[in-house]
């Protein structure tokens, strides 16, 4: 395994109390595997990603757990060790490229900088390589665009440039947090193609974080579903879509509108609302919205259970389904 996460918990310590953003989460990502982490806003999916590379800012911190990447425990690394892992080991792409790119440096300089740092290229080599990578990321006229500042590029081009910065050092794992959410539909599809290409070309593993379970269908090998700070179901993509086991996964899939099904498939929402992480329900966190919930669900937090064909789900009522 490239990445092994065990019992990861991260909380924010606020005046109102402890906000458990990530609660006892365990998962793996294999070499060159594409895994999606999906869930609704506020479920803690971004905090999982930030915890992995120790980027949570106070009052938040990783409370507990183990993150093994390529044999190292990332939660026990010093600053220098972390600096090497970020970039060369794990690259990261964020939702808003305009905020992630440095506004006062050209695109080419920002890519060259990480190449000099992580691949020990000379300044000239780094610039040439930066231009080559920009072209590979599908940016037309890369020599010209390398000299452009971020504000001179469209949103889609900025996202390609940010991906170029992240993949320049050839990391073994790319974490992409909502990489297409801010983009138009036609551009979104192009960025997804680019992410698939990176796996095929560089055997780069991908951890993609998204609120849109419909969108990850064509990208991910495996899908992990998160709800209110906990992983509730993990399965291969096809298995999850064809035979969801957790009632939340089922409901989530039923709420996704698919083009061409408007006349035949009524859209079913999930009653109620996502729980407040400062005021979590007892027992299973999904029980107030779950059609199968009974006394046991109100009382006890279910544990992740193995079910056949390499999948897991966290529900008391798996046998009923």
């Amino acid at each position: 395994m490239l990445l092994e996460v065990r019992n990861l918990s991260s909380s924010f310590f606020l005046d109102e109390g402890e906000l458990k953003a990530v609660d006892d989460v365990s998962f793996d990502v294999g070499v060159s595997e594409r895994v999606a982490l999906v869930g609704e806003s506020g479920c803690g999916k971004t905090i999982v990603a930030l915890s992995l590379i120790q980027l949570i800012a106070p009052p938040g911190r990783v409370k507990d757990g183990e993150v093994r990447f390529d044999g190292q425990d990332l939660l026990r690394l010093d600053d220098e060790g972390l600096r090497l892992v970020r970039g060369k080991g794990i690259g990261m792409v964020f939702q808003d490229p305009a905020a992630a790119l440095n506004p006062v440096h050209t695109i080419g300089d920002q890519i060259a900088e990480v190449l000099i740092l992580h691949r020990r290229l000379s300044k000239q080599e780094a610039w040439r390589e930066a231009v080559r990578i920009l072209g590979e990321m599908g940016i037309p006229e890369p020599e010209k665009r390398a000299k452009a500042y971020p504000f001179e590029l469209s949103g889609g081009m900025q996202q390609r440039a940010l991906i170029a910065v992240a993949v320049g050092p050839q990391p073994r794992l790319l974490i992409a947090d909502e990489p297409t959410t801010a983009l138009d539909l036609t551009v979104q599809a192009e960025i997804l193609d680019l992410l698939k290409y990176l796996r095929d070309q560089y055997h780069m593993a991908l951890l993609m974080i998204s609120h849109d379970i419909g969108m990850v269908a064509d990208v991910a090998d495996r899908v992990m579903v998160m709800y209110a700070g906990r992983l509730v179901e993990v399965a291969r993509t096809r298995d999850l879509f064809e035979d969801p086991r957790h009632p939340y996964t089922k409901a989530l899939l039923g709420a996704v509108p698919r083009l061409g099904e408007g006349a035949t498939q009524p859209l079913e929402g999930i009653p109620g609302r996502v729980p407040d992480l400062l005021d979590l329900p007892s027992g299973c966190r999904f029980h107030p919205r779950c059609p199968l919930a009974d006394d046991e669900c109100v009382r006890d937090l279910p544990r992740m259970r193995e079910i056949p064909y390499a999948r897991t789900a966290e529900c008391h009522k798996l046998e009923l389904q």
């Binding site: 469209s154 539909l185 979104q188 419909g214 709420a255 083009l259 408007g262 859209l267 609302r273």
Partner: protein
């Protein structure tokens, strides 16, 4: 309401914004809406779809004069809206309301929900003062919220609940026409379906006509009778919803539909890739707005603007390359 089957008739609508100000800065026009024709029947829901910068939001706001159009005409139930005085226009707004994408930005943080709903009732003297509270509670019930919400503040509510309030407020004046500007975009999928259900009830039970502005065709399919596809301020294609989704004719509509994720693993449709880039917002276009990215482009497309013409029964397309069938 008029009996001739037209509630709203928009023709040649242009809304331009002046960009840049100050000394030595070149002032340029952004043609946000650049010659749009549109009709809407009573009880009809027409969707306007397009990507960012297509002008769909400006179109929605121009139609009810929240932004002033530069040219064109808007006739609502026989009344020429652009000739109305400000006070006459205000009175007209009882009949036409708008729901925005971000309900948080449109609800006053200092007012309880009851006050938010009461304000338009009092302003337009919809009900007697003694009836205001009961009417607010009725409005809440119509959007599926319990009566105790009248004492809540917007920040105490979830995004979906706030969008319900925004819809309830729009309903308070009893409009027959609603502009819904991306009403579901800021919401999680589990909540989207709930709000979509409320909007469909307004259409089917209350007979409210809507201009439904959205970038999401899989949502549009579930509520709209007809769709207009916009690109760079112009209408590229217009057709009944099912017809458009089954048989898009404009190359842009085809590309847009092919980019919608299938939502099923292993079910990826072949996708039309668009090369090239969007023309800048201030560029003066001498030809088709889509020419710079169109896979079917010819020299004619760069020199003459295609007009929106019927190419199939019910389906109008602005493209030189699409032949009538």
């Amino acid at each position: 309401m008029s009996t001739n089957g037209t509630l709203l008739s928009v023709s040649g609508l242009e809304t331009y914004f002046l960009l840049g100000k100050g000394w030595r800065v070149k002032r340029e026009w952004v043609r946000a809406v650049d010659g749009v024709d549109l009709t809407l029947a009573p009880r009809e829901v027409v969707a306007v779809v397009g990507e960012s910068g297509s002008g769909k939001t400006t179109l929605g706001r121009s139609v009810i004069r929240l932004v002033e159009p530069t040219a064109g005409s808007i006739v609502y139930d026989g009344i020429d809206l652009l000739s109305l005085s400000a006070s006459a226009m205000r009175a007209m707004r009882r009949r036409m309301q708008i729901v925005f994408q971000d309900p948080y930005g449109t609800l006053s943080p200092r007012m309880q929900i009851g006050q938010i709903l009461a304000e338009p009732l009092r302003l337009h003297r919809i009900v007697a003062e003694s009836q205001v509270h009961d009417t607010a509670v009725e409005l809440l019930a119509r959007v599926g919220l319990e009566d105790y919400f009248v004492y809540r503040y917007p920040h105490e509510m979830s995004g979906g609940q706030r969008q319900r309030i925004a819809i309830a407020r729009a309903l308070s004046l009893g409009p027959e026409f609603l502009v819904a500007d991306e009403p579901l975009s800021a919401l999680d999928v589990s909540v989207q379906a709930q709000i979509l259900g409320i909007l469909r009830d307004l259409k089917e039970r209350d007979g409210i006509a809507m201009l439904f502005i959205s970038h999401d065709l899989s949502i549009v399919e579930r509520i709209a009778d007809r769709v207009l596809v916009m690109y760079r301020g112009r209408v590229m294609e217009e057709a009944p919803t099912a017809q458009l989704i089954a048989g898009p004719l404009h190359p842009y509509t085809q590309a847009l539909l092919s980019a919608v994720p299938s939502g099923r693993p292993g079910d990826a449709r072949p996708r039309i890739r668009l090369e090239g880039e969007l023309p800048s917002a201030t560029a003066r276009l001498t030809g088709c707005a889509f020419a710079s990215r169109c896979p079917m482009v010819e020299s004619e497309c760069r020199t003459s603007v295609p007009s929106l013409e019927p190419k199939r029964p019910g389906q109008r397309v602005a493209c030189h390359r699409v032949l009538p069938t």
